[in-house]
């Protein structure tokens, strides 16, 4: 387990999520793909925090947690995004009777 292999795994997960977010038509599938992208980014942050020496570590050893702190914030933002995203899914489903994104291109119905 080296830094490079972790970064490559994270990049693969991120790009799979990107493909899903661009290529799916179902609203919920797009949200799932965005969660995958968040996970790839979190993996990158934690890997860099684990293996790479930031300058601040020289003065304050607890700076090794910087990557993990960023990951905590990303997880929080992802939770907020899902709460709103699924609210929008239900609102669109109520007005359109479908969760197809091509049907939801117009804001009014």
């Amino acid at each position: 387990m080296t830094l490079e292999s972790l970064l490559i795994v994270a990049a693969i997960i991120f790009c799979i999520g990107l493909y899903g977010a661009l290529a799916r038509r179902n609203f919920i599938a797009v949200l799932m793909s965005i969660e995958l992208m968040f996970n790839g980014v979190n993996l990158t942050l934690v890997a860099l925090g684990r293996y790479v020496a930031p300058y601040a570590v020289q003065e304050q050893l607890s700076a090794v947690f910087t990557g993990q702190v960023f990951a905590v914030f990303i997880i929080t933002v992802a939770a907020a995004e899902i709460a709103l995203g699924l609210g929008i899914v239900f609102a669109v489903f109520r007005s359109n009777e479908s969760v197809d994104l091509t049907d939801a291109a117009t804001l009014r119905h």
Binding site: G17, A29, L36, G49, A71, A91
Partner: protein, 194 residues
């Protein structure tokens, strides 16, 4: 060492296979379950990187809350039959993703990382990270060769010290964001006129 390699490869393969399944499987319900599998595998990778607290957060929030929310959403919108059809942008999306992946892998491999082991800090950093959760033992840290300043910066709480200290402003901003998201989610899901 070989055990660590095997666990790493198994977790990576499970995570990538789960991610591919989310994108390719047509049945959205199975997609949500595969998503939970990928989240668990990523949590396992967090454990391997000495980020136990994040692994717990990953399981609690992603698997416990977000995956369950997705399963609820899939079942409530009753769109399982129509499923996970791709749109017309399938080929451009695949090309863009592949190009980005190639660029990221090339960057990751060709960059000359100044790693902690290169700076002679790996043992100290690893020790600090294993003490991130729970109450660190100052005498253990001192006997492992940390200077008094380093012992103080780690044993005053590690991750929590950084979260409430250097990052206190984003921390408060995130709490406001969560409040806004909760109210917004309620307003959206309730609909107008009721």
């Amino acid at each position: 060492m070989w055990f660590e390699h095997i666990v790493f490869w198994v977790l990576s393969v499970v995570a990538i296979a789960g991610a591919l399944g989310v994108v390719l499987v047509r049945d959205l319900f199975r997609g949500a379950l595969l998503l939970a599998t990928a989240f668990v595998a990523v949590g396992g990778l967090f454990v391997m990187m000495n980020a136990e607290f994040l692994a717990v957060v990953q399981i609690l929030i992603y698997v416990g809350a977000i995956a369950v929310l997705f399963i609820f959403a899939v079942m409530l919108t009753r769109d399982v039959q129509q499923g996970n059809a791709p749109n017309r942008l399938q080929i451009p999306a695949a090309v863009i993703s592949a190009l980005l992946l190639a660029a990221m892998i090339a960057t990751a491999v060709s960059t000359d990382w100044t790693t902690l082991s290169g700076a002679g800090l790996e043992a100290k950093a690893q020790l600090a990270q294993t003490q991130a959760v729970g109450i660190p033992n100052a005498s253990d840290l001192t006997s492992a060769g940390l200077t008094p300043a380093e012992v103080e910066s780690v044993s005053s709480g590690g991750l929590a010290d950084l979260l409430i200290g250097n990052f206190v402003l984003p921390f408060e901003a995130v709490s406001l964001l969560l409040l806004g998201a909760a109210i917004g989610g309620l307003a959206l899901a309730r609909g107008r006129g009721r």
